[in-house]
């Protein structure tokens, strides 16, 4: 697996935005869709999310595995949730029992189905506004974006530094696995989780200890190049342009409308066709 960030959406509409926009939109969107039970409300938001996602220009080939993984996991989660959550916690008109799940004896109604679908769609739409963070922000812009959002300068640089360490950590992991295999180490196939965890030690311990020992030198190197002052210049200049303001304004509006609707109780019941 490739652990370096993939800048798939280069050149697209969203990639030309200030990276802070891409970080703020998911937050606004989360506020908008949180707690909405009415499928129609979520669908309206999802339409907005879809337009946003299309603007990211992420090639389908690059992320289809991600989407497949995400959809499978989320579907399993939603199905389990529907089975475990008793239907009577929700009000609604569709109380006619369509069928009963064996074993748990959960009654499945239109309400249950509609609600399950709402959760699924919400997760998918959250993924749509979240993917551009992964694929449309140039990795070197992430630190400065956080810094300009008010995070401590040093911690913001830590985000950049994490991405710097990813490939070397991956290489070190490989080297250690190779070294241990030559000592007859094999990945445990045991069913006992405790034993499996214990057999991780020959890999986890050296990789961690090496990284920590090397980090001492990196700390020195950073100190020796003046890291840690109160004021720091970031070479990347960030400025919101009109389009950025429009996008943020638009998502703020969606959030305000949806929160108002929720407060007014308009989106609090499961919608049954």
């Amino acid at each position: 697996m490739d652990v370096t960030p993939r800048y798939l959406g280069a050149g697209s509409f969203l990639s030309r935005r200030d990276p802070r926009v891409l970080l703020l939109v998911p937050v606004l969107y989360l506020v908008a869709v949180a707690g909405i039970v009415d499928l129609r409300g979520v669908l309206v938001c999802t339409a907005v999310a879809l337009v946003y996602y299309r603007a990211a220009g992420i090639p389908w080939r690059g992320v289809r595995a991600n989407w497949a993984f995400m959809l499978i996991f989320t579907t399993v989660l939603v199905v389990l949730n529907s089975i475990l959550t008793s239907a009577d916690t929700r009000s609604g008109s569709g109380t006619e029992v369509l069928f009963t799940v064996p074993v748990t004896q959960t009654a499945i109604t239109w309400t249950t189905l509609s609600y399950a679908f709402t959760i699924l769609v919400r997760y998918v739409s959250l993924a749509m506004v979240g993917f551009p963070v992964a694929f449309n922000i140039a990795p070197s812009d992430l630190g400065v974006a956080f810094a300009r959002l008010g995070l401590s300068q040093r911690l913001a640089y830590g985000v950049d530094l994490t991405f710097r360490f990813l490939p070397s950590t991956w290489a070190s992991l490989h080297e250690t696995v190779d070294a241990q295999r030559l000592r007859g180490y094999e990945h445990s196939r045991s069913r006992n989780p405790v034993r499996r965890l214990l057999t991780m030690r020959p890999v986890v311990v050296p990789v961690t200890v090496n990284a920590l020992i090397d980090a001492e030198d990196t700390v020195n190197a950073m100190d020796l190049r003046g890291f840690g002052g109160r004021h720091r210049t970031w070479m990347r200049e960030l400025a919101f342009d009109r389009v950025d303001y429009l996008i943020l304004g638009g998502f703020t509006l969606v959030a305000v409308v949806m929160v108002t609707a929720k407060l007014l109780g308009l989106t609090g019941t499961v919608w049954v066709p």
């Binding site: 959550t85 916690t89 609600y115 979240g130 989780p193 991780m200 986890v204 961690t208």
Partner: protein
């Protein structure tokens, strides 16, 4: 942060270049090693991620901020690499809280010289931090509206996660900590 008791401790929330570098190193480690997980036999949802043990370890050894950073950024990167995007953002925050709380707990515990006692205390402290930190996932109830009740939260989200992460923490965190103990004083810092 200093191993030597003779000098005053750094303030718990101080951010030095050490905090930044060790936070970043930890997050990268967690992200890379965290790509590996396995299911506890007989369950379909309880995935043990051995690398989770790193989160309380970094909290304990390198402080509240580094611990929080490792959990939050590390988990966010795993999600990005695996393709969840930011959908499960609250899990990243919960991971961060585990590291931060572990940092807090161990910052106020006196150093323990007996190795066996230290191992047990490390395991219990890390488990406690995990139990408290993961409670943040309760925010799912806010996201999903009234559909997920507290019982579902406990049985579907919190319980399995605590079980899986708890096992990893109890077994691997003390093991890591024991290996690091004799090395921590070595650097002369």
């Amino acid at each position: 942060m200093n191993a030597d008791a003779a000098t005053p401790r750094d303030p718990v929330l101080a951010i030095s270049s050490r905090t930044v570098v060790f936070g970043a190193v930890g997050a990268a480690l967690y992200a890379v090693l965290g790509l590996f997980s396995f299911f506890i036999p007989g369950t379909q949802s309880v995935a043990v991620r051995p690398a989770f043990a790193l989160v309380p370890f970094f909290g304990k050894r390198f402080g509240v901020i580094a611990g929080f950073f490792v959990g939050l950024v590390g988990n966010a990167i795993i999600d990005l690499l695996q393709g969840y995007g930011l959908t499960y953002w609250n899990w990243s925050v919960a991971n961060g809280l585990v590291g931060a709380i572990a940092g807090l707990i161990f910052a106020y515990l006196p150093p323990i010289s007996r190795e066996s006692v230290r191992l047990v205390v490390t395991a219990l402290g890390s488990l406690l931090a995990t139990a408290i930190g993961l409670l943040f996932v309760i925010t799912d109830i806010w996201v999903q509206g009234n559909g997920i009740d507290f019982k579902t939260f406990l049985t579907l989200n919190y319980g399995p996660a605590l079980l899986a992460d708890g096992i990893a923490v109890v077994i691997l965190t003390p093991a890591l900590d024991a290996i690091w103990e004799p090395l921590s004083k070595r650097t002369g810092r």
